[in-house]
């Protein structure tokens, strides 16, 4: 089996990892040091724009990567593809959870002051919750199948099937629920509430967090490849002994 270095370009990984860390440090500095316009009710929490919203974009990126590798796995049967699909889903779950948690904290102490409302029943929030359920089901399904090749195929089929229903979810949910998110019913559009200067930190934040997703995902892929090499070495050793 090929060495990890053949599958993951380690020099490129280190380069991107270091760049992402520097980039995100700058983003954090900019997020707190850049002056923003005062907005009624939001006040400083508008800065959450730089942290909460990129979680959504990162989850979307993770879903795309995972579905892509699931498709390629079905086409080629290459186990590395299945591995990549799995790890992308895993990291996607992390960012999805972070997005939900930060959204809850933000809304509770900004718009829901004095109330006991923690859950919004907002389309985007519900979408993330359902995506997390789907990925949870994905991992449960994986654990139910013994044979690795079958496991990969079954998991890939479910991943792609769920991916097909995503656009419907994105379309149907906003029609059913009110939203605190900008651009929805009764809320000003995104560009109305974000002063152009915030975009200076916002766009880099999105790019930075997607980069961070790539770093964590590639790290996990390297880990999974190592585990696989170990398994195969164990298998060949058992064969050699018998």
């Amino acid at each position: 089996m090929a060495e990890t270095a053949d599958i993951v370009n380690l020099r490129r990984y280190r380069l991107i990892r270091n760049a992402v860390f520097v980039w995100l440090t700058l983003v954090v500095l900019g997020a707190f040091l850049l002056r923003i316009p005062r907005i009624h009710i939001l006040e400083h929490t508008a800065r959450n724009l730089y942290f909460h919203v990129p979680m959504w974009f990162t989850l979307m990126a993770a879903a795309l990567v995972s579905a892509y590798h699931s498709l390629r796995y079905l086409q080629s049967g290459d186990p590395v593809r299945d591995l990549r699909a799995r790890e992308a889903a895993r990291v996607g779950i992390v960012f999805g959870l972070l997005g939900l948690a930060t959204g809850i904290v933000w809304s509770r102490f900004t718009w829901y002051l004095g109330t006991s409302l923690w859950w919004n029943f907002d389309p985007k929030q519900s979408f993330v919750l359902i995506q997390l359920l789907i990925y949870g089901a994905y991992f449960v399904l994986r654990s139910a199948v013994e044979d690795p090749e079958k496991r990969g195929r079954v998991a890939a089929v479910y991943n792609l099937f769920a991916f097909v229903t995503m656009p419907f979810l994105l379309y149907v949910l906003p029609r059913q629920m009110e939203s605190l998110h900008p651009g929805a019913e009764g809320n000003p559009a995104f560009s109305d509430i974000t002063h152009p200067i915030m975009r200076l930190v916002f766009y880099p934040a999105v790019i930075g967090f997607i980069g961070l997703f790539w770093v964590l995902y590639t790290q996990r892929v390297r880990l999974a490849l190592l585990e696989r090499r170990l398994e195969m070495r164990k298998a060949t050793m058992l064969e050699a002994k018998s």
Partner: protein, 225 residues
Amino acid sequence: MKAWLRGFWAVFEKDIKLELRARYAINMLLLFALGALVVMAFAVGPTPLSARVQAALLWTVLLFAAAVGLGRAFISEEERGTMLLLQLNLRPGAVYAGKLLVNFALLLALNLVAVGAFAVLLRVQVAWPGLLALTLVLGSIGLAGATTLLSALIARAAGGRGALLPVLLFPVLVPLLLSAVEATRSALLVAEGWAAATDELLTLVGFGGAVITAAVLLFDYIWLD
């Protein structure tokens, strides 16, 4: 093409005949749905419910019944050892289509009984019966499509572990559930009706079409070993 149709019809015929003889799946579906509706009726009590809640209860029961009752479509093949026979003689698409039609027929039968019980037990007034019927049919298409694919997935790979089908099925069917509940609600209220439900009906059609298309494409990968 002819061979495909013959294969598809053969699968459908075989399963329907078996079903009519043993009546296992249909009994399970009906009894589960009735049981759930009775439980709900007692739990809710005499207080009248809003149309939205009534629609929600109906579709929740249908979803659960499908997950519980239709899951065995492929397991019986595994158990009886006829899986190999099917694999050798028929194209995967034909097997899927045959099973899909069986499940769809079962769901239609379920709808008839469940809606009747629902109207009686929860004291529901249906303002637009035609709309309700169409919503049920369109919803059942998507429901059958997804359930057939996922039950095949579980049967082929996971040995049909118990609660796996609902776990896989429910998150995927949320768009269907939401649209169907909205459309059903429109069917229950005199003030709403066809005009209010067009968007939801179109979504159900789109969703059903997408689910079946995806299932047909993906079925090959889990059918052949």
